[in-house]
């Protein structure tokens, strides 16, 4: 867990953005939002679709220009940079989106997809690409180099997207619903990979998600967004177990919960048992490494 005093990495200052819809209506997508992600910290941005969380993520990435407010990456105002400087600075911040298929050029081999990213750095591109593939659990890496994205499973594709993101040696990864496309049993694998990347490379995450259980398990801090504003922000455990804002309470109540059902079924089937069972059985059932 990062120290509270870690220096800020990404600072969003009073960001506002309006869109004009096809019907000519003005949509206030983001209304005066400030948010800080510190070095090595994981912040989850939760809210419903339409709350503006993806727009905020895109503004942070410089994909959308805000109407008002500033984006500071490691203390530098992105707006004040020249295009060239901006491109260089942006490498420190890599996106991952929900649908890995859409993020990968279908006509390029994995060698070509990774080579593009690795080519920015000195050293043997081929060797580095293979190392990256193996670090995300695609082993042996050499076997994957000649393949096309469609020859991989959904989970493998998301791993490839992660490999490409970390090829840029980012300090911050902005992940917009990275687990939504994945099946339940794949989720754990991707989450473990994100944990590894955090530990080994000291990356910070801004994780945009509607999945409360993921936010709870993974994030240090949680920011709850509603109608373009952050209504509650604080330590994950605090916000998600004792929410103060009415909207957060409503959001938590709306999430179907196995925990709640287990509790309903009586103490004999309580969560404590399930949790304990998780650790006892993980040796047999779950392969907790970044298994392929």
């Amino acid at each position: 867990m990062p120290a509270e005093e870690a220096p800020p990495l990404l600072v969003l200052e009073d960001i506002a953005k309006t869109f004009r819809s096809a019907g000519g209506e003005t949509v206030h997508a983001v209304r005066g939002v400030s948010l800080t992600v510190r070095e090595r910290e994981t912040v989850a941005l939760v809210g419903e679709s339409g709350s503006g969380k993806s727009t905020l993520g895109r503004i942070a990435l410089g994909l959308i220009r805000p109407d008002a407010g500033r984006v500071l990456l490691a203390g530098r105002d992105l707006e004040a940079l020249s295009t060239r400087e901006f491109r260089r600075a942006r490498c420190a911040m890599q996106p991952i989106f929900q649908d890995p298929t859409a993020a990968l050029n279908p006509r390029r081999t994995i060698r070509s997809l990774l080579g593009q990213a690795c080519g920015r750095f000195a050293g043997d591109v081929e060797q580095r690409s293979i190392e990256l593939l193996e670090s995300v659990g695609l082993r042996p890496g050499a076997d994957y180099m000649g393949r096309l994205p469609h020859e991989l499973s959904g989970g493998q594709r998301q791993r490839l997207v992660l490999a490409r993101a970390i090829a840029m040696q980012p300090r911050l990864v902005i992940a917009d619903e990275p687990l939504s496309g994945a099946d339940v049993s794949i989720r754990g694998q991707i989450l473990n990979l994100l944990l590894d990347i955090r530990e080994e490379r000291g990356v910070a995450y801004l994780m945009i998600t509607h999945d409360i259980s993921v936010a709870r398990a993974f994030a240090d801090r949680v920011a709850v967004m509603m109608q373009g504003q952050i209504v509650e922000c604080g330590p994950a455990e605090e916000v998600l177990t004792a929410p103060r804002h009415q909207y957060t309470q409503r959001l938590l109540k709306a999430v179907p919960s196995i925990e709640r059902t287990a509790a309903m079924a009586g103490p004999a089937y309580g969560l404590a048992e399930s949790r304990a069972r998780a650790s006892a059985l993980s040796a047999g059932v779950g392969h907790s490494g970044a298994s392929g």
């Binding site: 419903e48 989720r187 009586g266």
Partner: protein, 340 residues
């Protein structure tokens, strides 16, 4: 399975085997599935993508493509009538009543150039001949809690949740005794999802309608269903009352799935995952389909396990040769939990 209700169950699937023939490839999507849904029951079917749950739903509605899907064995009875080998024309007559269905993406199932009210009206005309169509449409809109004005709307003018309500109104226009809901809220936000699930449950109660809820979302199924079936690789591997299946899961796959679903971490702080990948149904292996991913494999697992009841846990059954070891490991864990 205890079925004390009078009359035959609404759905009775017995050892159903279904394969898709794609070119020279044969994909064995259902490999001996049995399932019963009685009148008024809310039953859940969970599984990951490719487990065969949507194939089962399609088979129950006669929606599998006869050019590609081949029933290799077993039997489907709906309301006591054997429908396993009905012709397309015979299916056409029985679809909608007693079984109707709603799907994941309502936009795909609504006509984009026809107002919602007219689409609901089509179902009313078909299933309630002679009734005052517009009055019945308004009644249906009220039932799914949509304002009367939405009858005039085109699908693109409605939100995702409202579109799902329109689809539901069309289904209810058939006066079904059982609704098959295949991932009815997957495309929706959590709060909209909660509203739709509440609506579905209220409708089941007030109309005395049964529901087969199909989802990959274990929490959703846990919240809604009294009985739950867990599907893996074309087979149902654990089933029974919710209390048993989710409160005291005994199949290693169910256990792994539950842990993945609530992002459980093991002692080392890692998220629990199910290693390996789901088997290729084009090349089904002999025996238990979960064996290649299972940590409790025995010699016996080369043969498909029989259905064995879980002792002392009522109507709770699973297909696993090594349930004893899995349970022992689980009980060891709960003793630790009690001690802790």
């Amino acid at each position: 399975m205890a079925n004390s209700e009078p009359g035959p169950p609404l759905i009775e699937v017995d050892d159903l085997r279904l394969a898709y023939v794609i070119g020279t490839q044969v994909v064995h999507a259902l490999q001996g599935v049995s399932l019963v849904v009685g009148a008024g029951e809310v039953v859940g079917l969970v599984g990951e993508s490719g487990s065969g749950k949507s194939t089962l739903a399609s088979a129950l509605m006669g929606l599998t493509d006869p050019r590609r899907a081949r029933i290799d064995g077993g039997r489907i009875a709906i309301d006591g009538k054997d429908v396993t080998h009905l012709s397309a024309a015979e299916w056409e007559r029985m679809r909608g009543h007693p079984l109707a269905m709603v799907f994941q993406d309502p936009l795909n199932f609504l006509n984009p150039v026809m107002r919602a009210g007219r689409q609901i009206g089509e179902s009313v005309r078909r299933h309630d001949p002679g009734v005052d169509v517009s009055a019945r449409v308004h009644e249906l809109l009220e039932l799914v809690r949509l304002p009367p004005s939405s009858a005039r709307a085109y699908p693109h003018e409605l939100s995702g949740g409202m579109r799902q309500r329109v689809l539901l109104a069309i289904a209810l226009g058939c006066r079904p005794r059982l609704l098959i809901a295949d991932e009815p809220t997957t495309a929706l936000d959590v709060t909209t999802q909660a509203e739709i699930m509440l609506l579905l449950r209220d409708l089941c109660r007030s109309l005395g309608m049964a529901m087969l809820l199909i989802s990959h979302d274990l929490g959703l199924v846990a919240d809604a269903c009294e009985r739950i079936h867990v599907m893996y690789a074309g087979r149902i591997i654990e089933w029974g009352e919710r209390r048993g299946v989710f409160g005291n899961p005994c199949h290693p796959y169910t256990i792994g799935l539950l842990q993945s679903a609530y992002a459980a971490r093991n002692a080392a702080g890692r998220f629990v995952t199910i290693g390996g990948e789901a088997p290729n149904l084009a090349r089904p292996a002999e025996g238990c389909p979960f064996a290649p991913r299972c940590g409790f494999v025995l010699e016996a697992c080369r043969r498909m396990p029989d259905a064995v009841p879980v002792e002392g846990d009522g109507a709770h059954t699973l297909r696993c040769w090594n349930a004893r070891s899995v349970r022992a490991a689980a009980n060891g864990a709960s003793e630790q939990a009690d001690a802790g």
